[in-house]
Structures are given as structure tokens and as C-alpha cells.
């Protein structure tokens, strides 16, 4: 990968990667640092990384950096805690998008990152497996659980909002 291709990757994937990291970390400065670190690592290895695999390499690097950051700051919260919080949430959301975002924030980091890779970037199970280091079955389970949780959360919030 030459510098021109590297800059092309920056154009195409910097915003998406930043959105993905920001959704997981929910801190803009930290998300910017993670993205910048990821691109810096890509640049350092740009002669070794092929252009077609650059996106996967970029997201893999950013994902691991993000996981390290989350572990360092002990921001991993058990899923059960989210569920309990969800039960007593003040339901002021009328927009489904806002409900979904709130539901995403309640997901565990592993499920959320896998689901975002699936929904945001459209990665296949195999690609997500390569990025996260999980096996395919784990990826499927995490996505399925996350989806069910979101559906239940949205359904519950809408039912509560509608007075059902």
C-alpha cells in the first residue's frame, strides 16, 4: 500500500471507524485517540499491508485498541446490570432511533461491537470473526442476543410509552 492508497483509506474509513469507536466508548477524545492510533499503526505498516485488506486491518487494530482502553478504564459492565437499569429507565423516547441508541449503550461491549460491525459496516460473520478474534459461533450468538435484547427493549419502551 502506497501513501496515496493510505490517504484514500483515510478518506473512506476514518469517519466510519470513528463512529464505531465512539458508539462503543462514548467519549469523543478517547475515540479520536483510538482512531488516530489505529491509522498510525496502519501507516507504520503500510508497506506490508495490502490495500484490499487495509480496512479489515484498520478495524482490527482499532477494535483491539478500543478493547484495551475499555479494560484499562474498567468500563466493561455486566449485561445484567444494563437489563436492570433498563427496567427502571425513564421512558421519554418517542423516536425509535433514540431508543435503539439507548439500547445499544446498554449492550455489553463484546455484543455491541460485534453488532455495530454487522450493522454499521456490513461485515460478514467471517470478517467479524477476523476482526474480533472470536469464532463464528460466538459472533452469531452475540449478534443474536444483541438483536433480541434490542427488539425487546424497543418493544418494551414503546409499549410503556403507549401505555400498554
Amino acid at each position: 500500500m502506497n501513501p496515496k492508497q493510505y490517504n484514500q483509506i483515510v478518506d473512506e474509513y476514518a469517519d466510519g471507524l470513528y463512529r464505531f469507536i465512539l458508539k462503543n466508548i462514548r467519549d469523543e477524545e478517547t475515540a479520536q485517540d483510538v482512531v488516530q492510533d489505529a491509522f498510525e499503526k496502519v501507516w507504520l505498516n503500510h508497506e506490508k499491508v495490502e490495500f484490499l485488506k487495509a480496512k479489515s486491518y484498520l478495524f482490527t487494530t482499532a477494535y483491539h485498541t478500543m478493547i484495551d482502553h475499555i479494560r484499562k478504564n474498567k468500563r466493561i459492565v455486566k449485561m445484567e446490570d444494563y437489563h436492570e437499569n433498563a427496567m427502571y429507565y425513564s421512558y421519554e423516547y418517542s423516536d425509535v432511533k433514540e431508543l435503539l441508541n439507548r439500547g445499544l449503550e446498554m449492550l455489553p461491549a463484546s455484543q455491541k461491537s460485534v453488532l455495530l460491525l454487522r450493522d454499521y459496516e456490513g461485515y460478514s460473520y467471517e470478517e467479524i470473526e477476523g476482526i474480533t478474534g472470536l469464532n463464528e459461533n460466538q459472533v452469531k450468538v452475540y449478534i443474536h442476543r444483541a438483536r433480541l435484547f434490542l427488539r425487546a427493549f424497543i418493544q418494551r419502551m414503546e409499549g410503556f410509552y403507549n401505555g400498554n
Binding site: D15, R19, Q36, K97, L115, D119, K140, R147, I154
Partner: protein, 304 residues
């Protein structure tokens, strides 16, 4: 209930792209005819996260890398430009120096080429002006005096400054300022050198007290000097031949020339050698006047 659970599984598979063509048809029927399944379908569609396009990385410029390193590309160009400029400048300098040295060397070259040429000054009063060449038939005259002077006018000035000839400087300070190469000053230089010859001749005349110098070929001298003046080059004074002429000026009656002649006499008295010689039963005086820069030599036949 079992049917609804089956429908939900189909919907989940649809969302997860695990869907076959048969499942699509079945799902369409379910959504169309089964209200709970249709509601689940709508709920599942809501559970798909959609990226927010308004969120963008704020400092993307920090991520870009230079595609072409400026130093690597610009330096060779600048280096080539400087090399071209240096080459052109050096060539121009060489041409300039060549022209300068060529012009400065012209005088010496011409002087060397004209070593056999005789130059005699043009007096204001047309009193003394003799120019001819050594090959001139007139030099064959038995009553001939040959003077040889080798200096440049500028060298005369230097010699005067360094030698005992300071009297000449005092009385003729214009000699010192003869270094200018302009046309007028070249002319003055010619006159000065010629005056020295004339003075030396006058001195010899007084010493021998036996002959009166004669000057001839005034026209040739004028032409020669004029020709060199047109070339803007000083006419070299190398050899002067003095022969008899009826209208020889009387130096003793000419105040300026007499004064100058006296100065030269005082100046060159110690350097003049006169010896009486006999050749072919004829007596004559061989004389020579020689300093570091000036040499005048010849022979005269006594007129007594």
C-alpha cells in the same frame, strides 16, 4: 404459540441474512396474514442499527500523510537550477575575463609588434618630429643617430619614482600622471617619451659640441602617431633615427626644450657614455645613454 416462535426464528434469520428463497416467500405470507408476526418483523427492523452520518472524524488532516515527500522532489529541481545558474555564471565570468585580459594585452602585443618601428614626437611648434623605421633608407646615411628606448610610459613613471631621477618629477610632474589610457594621455605619453629622446639628443649635441641634430621625416611621424591614435593605442617609442635636416631647431633658443634638456642632462649625465671611434677612416662619436628603463645609443659624426 409454537407457530409464532417459528415465525420469530424466521424473522431473526432474515435479519441475520440466513435466509433462503423459500424463507422469503414464507416470511411474506406470515407478515401479510399473521399480525403478531408482522409486528415482530417491524420490531426486528427497528433493532437494526443505522450509522449516524452526521458523526465524522473532526481532525482528518492529522491522519493524512504526504504522498510525495517535498524534500525529495524539490531538492533535485533546485539543485539542477542552481547547477545551471552556476554554469552560466562561470561561463559568463570566463568570457568577461577573457575580454578584459584581451583588451589589456592588446597594447603589449602591439608594442612588441612595433619594436622595429620608429616614433618621433610631434612638437607643437613643429620643431622636432622625426619618425621612421630602422629599414628606412635614411638610416643608411652616414650622419645618422639611432636611439633605442624600450620603456613603457607607465614604467618610466615608476622608475622616476624609485630612482634618482626625482628632478625630472619636480619639473615635469605631468609625466607621473600619464598612466591614463585615454587617447589624449596616450598622445601625451608619446610626447614625453619623445621629449626624452630629444633631450638626450640635445645633451649629446652639447657634449660633443660638434654637430647639430637634424630631424627629418616629420610627415611619417605624424602619420604613424595618428594611426596609433586612431587605434587608441599608444604609439610605442622604440627606435628613433635622427638625421640631418636644414631647418633643425635650435634647442638653445627654445626655452621649454632647453629647460627640459637641461633636466634630462642633469638626470642622465652619469649614464651617458661617449666614445670617439674611427671606422673606414672616418671619426665619429659613439654614444649611449642607458638607465634601467631607457636606452639610447647611436653614433654621430662630428661636424668640425
Amino acid at each position: 404459540m409454537a407457530i409464532n416462535q417459528h415465525h420469530r426464528d424466521i424473522l431473526n434469520r432474515y435479519v441475520e441474512d440466513k435466509f433462503s428463497a423459500e424463507n422469503v416467500n414464507e416470511l411474506k405470507n406470515i407478515i401479510e396474514y399473521d399480525k403478531p408476526s408482522g409486528k415482530d418483523w417491524k420490531q426486528l427492523k427497528k433493532a437494526v442499527a443505522v450509522p449516524d452520518e452526521s458523526i465524522k472524524f473532526p481532525n482528518k488532516n492529522r491522519l493524512y500523510k504526504p504522498e510525495v515527500v517535498a524534500i525529495e522532489t524539490k531538492n533535485p529541481v533546485i539543485r539542477r537550477m542552481w547547477s545551471y545558474a552556476a554554469t552560466v555564471a562561470s561561463i559568463a565570468a570566463m568570457f568577461f575575463l577573457a575580454i578584459v585580459f584581451k583588451n589589456s594585452g592588446d597594447e603589449n602585443v602591439i608594442a612588441k609588434k612595433n619594436t622595429a618601428t620608429i616614433t618621433q614626437p610631434i612638437n607643437k611648434k613643429n620643431e622636432v618630429a622625426v619618425v621612421t623605421t630602422s629599414k628606412d633608407p635614411q638610416t643608411k646615411n652616414s650622419n645618422v643617430a639611432v636611439a633605442v628606448i624600450t620603456p613603457k610610459n607607465t614604467e618610466i613613471k615608476k622608475q622616476i619614482n624609485t630612482s634618482t631621477d626625482k628632478i625630472l618629477v619636480k619639473e615635469n610632474p605631468q609625466i607621473i600622471t600619464q598612466e591614463n589610457k585615454s587617447e589624449n594621455q596616450n598622445y601625451r605619453n608619446n610626447i614625453t617619451g619623445k621629449k626624452q629622446i630629444e633631450s638626450a639628443m640635445a645633451l649629446l649635441k652639447n657634449r660633443s659640441n660638434s654637430y647639430s641634430a637634424a630631424y627629418n621625416n616629420t610627415t611619417d611621424a605624424e602619420n604613424y602617431i595618428r594611426r596609433h591614435q586612431q587605434k587608441k593605442v599608444a604609439a610605442p617609442v622604440k627606435i628613433a633615427t635622427i638625421s640631418e635636416k636644414k631647418n633643425t631647431p635650435d634647442l638653445n633658443t627654445d626655452t621649454d626644450d632647453r629647460t627640459f634638456a637641461e633636466t634630462v642632462r642633469d638626470l642622465f649625465t652619469d649614464h651617458i657614455k661617449i666614445q670617439k671611434q674611427t671606422e673606414n677612416n672616418e671619426s665619429y662619436y659613439a654614444y649611449s645613454l642607458e638607465t634601467k628603463k631607457i636606452r639610447v645609443a647611436g653614433k654621430v659624426k662630428p661636424n668640425f
